[in-house]
């Protein structure tokens, strides 16, 4: 193919854009803001890879097994084997473009232990792995911007896809600087918009990852997968403005979880799971913390202060700044927080959705993590999926968009602009801020789709979201906010409903999805959940034929 539009310029979007440009494909890289603002910069801990100088006993097969076991065997073996099998190549690539990895005495990438893994295989860049990879990829992207192969389109938000007869031919984009919706055409469209944080209000992630693009594509016919699997990170520090992630690296460096009973520390994870208890997978640790019903603390203060400065400087700064707490002297109060979405757009092995020429990569796509994700595997999947989609697009012949199809798209564009104009004309006097509905949604989702769920709570959640959806179209919104906030509401609400419906249909417990009314895993549900939208109906099926594993 000759041209592609990539929506989202975090690690996955940039990797895809660079790899497309390397193959000579012209790329439009779309995002409202530069890559430095993407959620990727917040990925702290590391990136997993079995390198040739691995620990004795470790192997790619072992990384595959850890990943699949962590995901409770929901992720397809071929996909996971591809991911883990290319991990060394990915580290070498990132090193090659100048990423500042933490290195050992021989100058080779250092590795640390991470939760749920049998060996130390997590490469890292201090406590800022994502940021360092972003910095290197921004430079690599710049190289191709200079060569004219990548064009960044800033201030642009996704509005909708241009789809005809099951084929994607481009997108409508809202330009914040001109306040107009414009059409952009390309041979392929790649979605790299990250997770769906806004469904839950304040999370550990970026406020920019709102799930709208995935929600809108769902309404336009794209199938979604495994939405009910939402990872809670067990250790977040609560502040007024957000939930701050305390990196798993703290536990990797020996950090211990405890609560206080009768004035004594109870190391509940070690008591239940042995000396490695603190490094259990995130779902288990989160549920155990919830089960204590008390304030839990994470202690790293036994480490030498200089060692903390050297290995966990960002964690130390963050706690000092937002809670005036010195982690070298006192333990950190932690609580679980929504952190990562294993579900998203359903994609085949080549990262194409059920809509032809529409691809999805990174966190917004569902592929490698199954029912739960290992720490250190999300950065790996972000880079890998970007590479895979680029390879597929570059190898495929272009299809010409017919003039009559363009006419249909022009109509779609005109209608979108008319709707936008109406919303803006509503004026300042119209009282209702769209953000209030988003806040109500977050309250519903946190209450009814928490770490522990049951049918009654999920039904209550669905009923709430149905009400928001029925009211959403009838309200005149305060138009003094960015128009994107107004037009994105329906997509976000629809996605929220889809998540709740999937969680209700999966009548078992597996990985990050825990049902108190069905507390055990059930083999009947040992495959992916697929949800599709058909004229108002949310249809769920379980992918027993494994249609998305090819």
């Amino acid at each position: 193919m000759k041209s592609a539009i990539v929506i989202g310029s975090g690690i996955s979007g940039m990797t895809c854009a660079v790899k497309l440009a390397e193959a000579g494909v012209e790329v439009e890289l779309v995002s409202p803001f530069p890559s430095e603002r993407s959620q990727s910069v917040m990925a702290a801990g590391g990136i997993n890879a079995v390198l040739s100088d691995h620990e004795d006993g470790d192997s790619v097969a072992c990384h595959i097994e850890d990943t699949r076991r962590g995901g409770r065997y929901l992720a397809g073996e071929t996909a996971v084997a591809g991911l883990c099998g290319h991990a060394e190549e990915i580290i070498r690539y990132l090193e090659g473009i100048g990423t500042v990895f933490s290195v050992d005495e021989n100058g080779l990438p250092a590795r640390r232990a991470f939760g749920g893994q049998s060996y130390r295989r997590t490469c890292y860049c201090g406590s800022a792995t994502g940021k360092q990879i972003v910095s290197a990829l921004v430079m690599e992207t710049r190289k191709y911007e200079g060569a004219g192969l990548i064009r960044r389109r800033l201030w642009s938000c996704f509005h909708s896809a241009l789809i005809l007869d099951g084929r994607c031919c481009g997108v409508l984009l809202f330009d914040e600087s001109t306040r107009k919706i414009e059409a952009a055409y390309a041979d392929a469209v790649v979605i790299a918009t990250g997770g769906q944080n806004a469904l839950f209000g304040k999370t550990t992630g970026s406020t920019q990852c709102d799930g709208y693009t995935v929600g809108k594509l769902f309404l336009q016919g794209a199938e979604l997968k495994n939405l009910e699997f939402i990872q809670y990170h067990p250790t977040a520090l609560y502040t007024g403005q957000k939930k701050m992630l305390i990196s798993e690296a703290v536990r990797g460096e020996g950090g211990r979880l405890f609560y206080i009973e009768n004035g004594k520390r109870v190391y509940f994870m070690e008591e239940k799971y042995g000396p490695q208890g603190n490094l259990m997978t995130r779902d288990i640790v989160s549920r155990e913390i919830e089960r204590t019903g008390r304030q839990v603390f994470l202690d790293i203060s036994f480490l030498d202060s200089r060692q903390i400065d050297r290995r966990l400087p960002e964690v130390r700064d963050l706690c000092k700044k937002y809670r005036n707490l010195d982690i070298a002297a006192e333990p950190i109060p932690v609580e679980p927080s929504v952190h990562f979405f294993m579900g998203g757009l359903a994609v085949h092995l080549n990262h194409e959705t059920n809509i032809k020429n529409l691809f999805a990569i990174g966190e917004c796509a569902s592929m490698y993590h199954g029912a739960n994700r290992l720490g250190g595997n999300s950065l790996l999947a972000a880079v890998y999926s970007g590479m895979i989609a680029a390879k597929e697009i570059a190898a495929r012949p272009s299809e010409k968009t017919l003039p009559e199809e363009q006419t249909d798209f022009v109509r779609q564009l005109e209608s979108a602009n008319e709707q936008l104009k109406k919303a803006l004309e509503a004026g300042v006097e119209s009282p209702f801020p769209v953000m209030y509905i988003r806040e109500m949604l977050a309250e519903t989702m946190n209450r009814d789709l928490g770490i522990v769920r049951d049918e009654a709570s999920l039904d209550a959640g669905i009923s709430d979201v149905d009400y928001y959806l029925s009211a959403a179209d009838k309200i005149t919104y305060d138009s003094s906010v960015m128009p994107y906030e107004i037009y994105s509401l329906k997509g976000i609400l629809s996605l929220a409903k889809a998540v709740l419906v999937c969680a209700k249909e999966r009548r078992e417990s597996r990985g990050a999805h825990f049902r108190s009314d069905f507390p055990e895993a059930d083999d009947d549900f040992g495959c992916a959940t697929i949800i599709s939208y058909d004229q108002g109906a949310y249809r769920v099926r379980f992918d027993k034929e494994r249609a998305y594993e090819s």
Partner: protein
């Protein structure tokens, strides 16, 4: 508490001051304060007149993305890590003034990326120079790690007495990326030196106010020293 904000509806309209009253609690940051003003209740000015929601940018809300850079009580800073308890009774907030305003506190900082693009500031291939000792290598590595944490937030440019509009002098953000590229790829060092001199080295008056406001505490002085040394050799 009184909060005065410099506002502007569109890139082409006039700016104006608007004053709000806010109740401040605990360890509230300016980001939290803006959110509170916007969505605690209907938004009204200090006289109770209804007004529009305040536009500002945020993403990470923990000081690692640079979105919420603005000028708070005369000091360029990130709103998410400036705390109200550390400020005076009246807070004054305005957008960064060295960049064109898009809306209220949202500015267009794309000149930063444009300048790096037109001077080919990218590593391309990792080819470090040989180091004499492990200690030296470790020190260099730490410096590179910190330089690569640059947020491209523009605070260093806002405070810089030499930076005007980015047409000729590109500021500390540029100097640090020059340092990073020339030490991560020795083959690009001489090309980078040329651009460094032209767009930074020859003009910087070493006021070093950039170092004080950098949220990542990048040792710009050390970057400058290393780049200047390279110019001499």
């Amino acid at each position: 508490m009184k909060v005065k904000i410099l506002r502007q509806v569109t890139p082409f309209s006039e700016s104006y001051w608007e004053t709000f009253r806010a109740e401040v609690t605990g360890n509230m940051s300016v980001a939290e304060l803006l959110d509170h003003l916007n969505y605690h209740d209907d938004i009204v000015d200090e006289n109770g007149r209804k007004t529009t929601r305040i536009g500002w940018e945020c993403s990470c809300l923990q000081g690692v993305c640079g979105a919420c850079a603005m000028v708070i009580n005369g000091v360029p800073a990130l709103a998410c890590e400036t705390f109200v308890k550390d400020l005076k009774e009246e807070i004054t907030i305005r957008p960064l003034q060295k960049f064109p305003v898009i809306h209220d506190l949202v500015v267009d900082r794309s000149i930063i990326q444009e300048n790096l693009k037109k001077t080919d500031i990218y590593i391309g291939e990792y080819k470090p120079a040989e180091k004499k000792s492990t200690t030296e290598a470790l020190k260099e590595h730490d410096h590179q790690y910190t330089a690569a944490k640059c947020l491209k937030c523009g605070l260093c440019l806002e405070i810089c007495p030499n930076y005007v509009n980015g047409k000729t002098f590109f500021g500390a953000v540029f100097a640090n990326d020059c340092y990073l590229v020339s030490t991560r790829n020795r083959e690009k060092a001489s090309e980078i030196r040329k651009y460094y001199g032209e767009h930074f080295g020859n003009t910087c008056s070493k006021a070093l106010s950039c170092v004080d406001v950098c949220p990542m505490k990048i040792p710009t002085l050390a970057s400058i020293a290393k780049m200047n040394r390279k110019i001499l050799t």
